[in-house]
C-alpha cells in the first residue's frame, strides 16, 4: 500500500473523478486471482459476457474466426486483463461454458 503523500496531487488527477483507461491512478486488476479464458471454438458469439461484465473488460473485436467445424464468425470476444477483476460473472453467465476461470499463479 502506497503512503498518502506519494499519491497524485490535485492537479495530477483527471477532473471530476472521471477515469480513462491507462490514466487511472492505480492498476485496477490488483486483486484478481483467477482469470477468465475464452475458448473460441466453443463460443457462439451470443454477446452475453460482453453485456454482463460489470467493468467493460470484455472487448468486442471485428476479427474473423473460423472454427474447426468450418463455421465463420465476424466477431471475436477478448478480455482486457488490465481491467478484469476476475469476478467470474462472464464464466457463470456463458450458456455454452466457453469461458473457464484459470488460477493466476
Amino acid at each position: 500500500m502506497k503512503s498518502r503523500e506519494s499519491l497524485p496531487s490535485w492537479y495530477e488527477l483527471p477532473i471530476g473523478g472521471i477515469s480513462r483507461p491507462n490514466i487511472t491512478p492505480e492498476s485496477k486488476a490488483g486483486w484478481r486471482f483467477e482469470k477468465p479464458v475464452i475458448d473460441n471454438e466453443k463460443c457462439i458469439r451470443c454477446r452475453l459476457c460482453f453485456l454482463y461484465c460489470p467493468d467493460a473488460a470484455i472487448v468486442e473485436s471485428d476479427e474473423k474466426y473460423t472454427t474447426k467445424t468450418g463455421k465463420t464468425y465476424n466477431v471475436s470476444y477478448k478480455i482486457n486483463y488490465y481491467f478484469c477483476k476476475g469476478c467470474g460473472i462472464c464464466a457463470e453467465e456463458c450458456p455454452v461454458k466457453a469461458i473457464t476461470m484459470v488460477p493466476e499463479v
Partner: protein, 399 residues
Amino acid sequence: MTQVYKSKSLATLSSNKAVAKAVGQLDVDVIAAYPITPQTTIVEELAQMVANGEVKAQYIHVESEHSALSAVVGASIAGARTFTATSSQGLELMHEILHITSGLRLPVVMAVPTRALSAPISIWNDHSDIMNARDTGWIIYFVSSAQEAYDTVIQAYRLAEDREVLLPTIVSYDGFLMSHTYEPVVIESSEDVIEFSPKTWKGYIEEGAVAIGTLASPDYYYEFKYQQVEAMKNALRKAEIIDRDFYKKFGRKNGLVETYRTEDSEIDLLVTGSIWSSLKLAIDKARSNGLRIGGLRLRLYRPLPIDEIEKILAGKEVLVVIDKAISYGLRVAGPLANEIYTNLQSPVKIKSVVAGIGQRTITNEDLYKVILHVYKNKDSPGFTKHTLFYGVRGVELDS
C-alpha cells in the same frame, strides 16, 4: 419568426423571452426542462422554436426537474451544448443533481427566475431558492435587466465551457419582476453570437470509454473537491475577461460589480437583481437632500468578486446589504450579508436588511426610508448587531 438574425435588431422582450432568444442563437444541442412558474415561458418559447425547426436541438420531455437536470447531465457528458431552466421547488428538487453536475465538471447552463419557497405556497419572487444553491459549486450570475439576461446567457456558455473553468452556470434574475416584465432588448446577429461563444465543449467520451460517477476513497475525494476550488478562481478571472471582450464586440459593459455614485459616498447599499433601478432613484433623492449615499449591485454571485467590492468600499463608513432571503436562526439573517461580513477585509460597518420576502413590494420610497433609518442610527451602539426585517407587520422602523 426565425431564429437566424442576420443583423442587430431591437425587440420587446421579458427576461424569460430574452433568455430563450439567446439560447436559440447559441446552437444548443439538448434542452430538457419541466414547467414551473415563473420559469415556464422560457421553455415554452424554446419548445416552440424546436417544434418549428428554427432551433435544431433535441427537446427532452421529462417528468420532474430531477430528471430534467439528469438528462442534461447525460447529454453534456456526451459533448452536447445543453440548457435547462427552473425556479423555486424545481431548483430544490434538482438539488442533488446540482452537486453532481459541478462535481462532474459539466458546462451546463441553466436559467433560474427566482421565486419564494413553500410552505406556505408563494409563486412570487424572492431569493430563497437561489440562496439554497450557493454551495453547489455552480457559477451564479444575478442579472438585473432583460438585456443583461440576454447578454449573460451568451457569456455564460463561453465561461462554462472554458477549459480552465468547466463549471455549470446559473443565470438568475427576479421572477415576475423581470421574468414577466417586458423591456427593449438589443438582439445581436446570430453569426456574432456564435462567434463570441463558439462550441468548444467536446464531452468526455470523444477519446473512448471512460468511467463516470466513480467512487473516490478518502485518499482521493478531497483532491477532486479542491479542483473545484481552483476552477472557481479561474472562473472569476475568466468572467472579467469575457465581460471585457463582450464590451469590445457588442459595446455593452455589464461588469461583475456595478456601482452608482460611490465616488464620494459614506453609506453604500449592496443589492442584487431588479431592486437596482429603484435603489438608484432612492440614492438620487438622498443625494438631493445632501446625504452622501452610493449603491453597488452584484452581478456575479459565485465566484464572489470580493476584491472588487473591497476596493470600492475602501474608506467607506457603512455598507447596507439588502437580502431577499432569510437564513433562519442567525442574528445576521441575510445570506449575502453574512458572506460579505465573513469575506470582506475592511473596517466598514455592515448592516443587514431583509426585504421583499414573497415579493412584498420594495419601492424607491421604501429604500429611501431604509437609507434615512441607517443614516440616523448608524452611530448608535449595537446598530449592526441585528438584521432589520424591513416591511414586516409588527416590526416598526424606529426613526
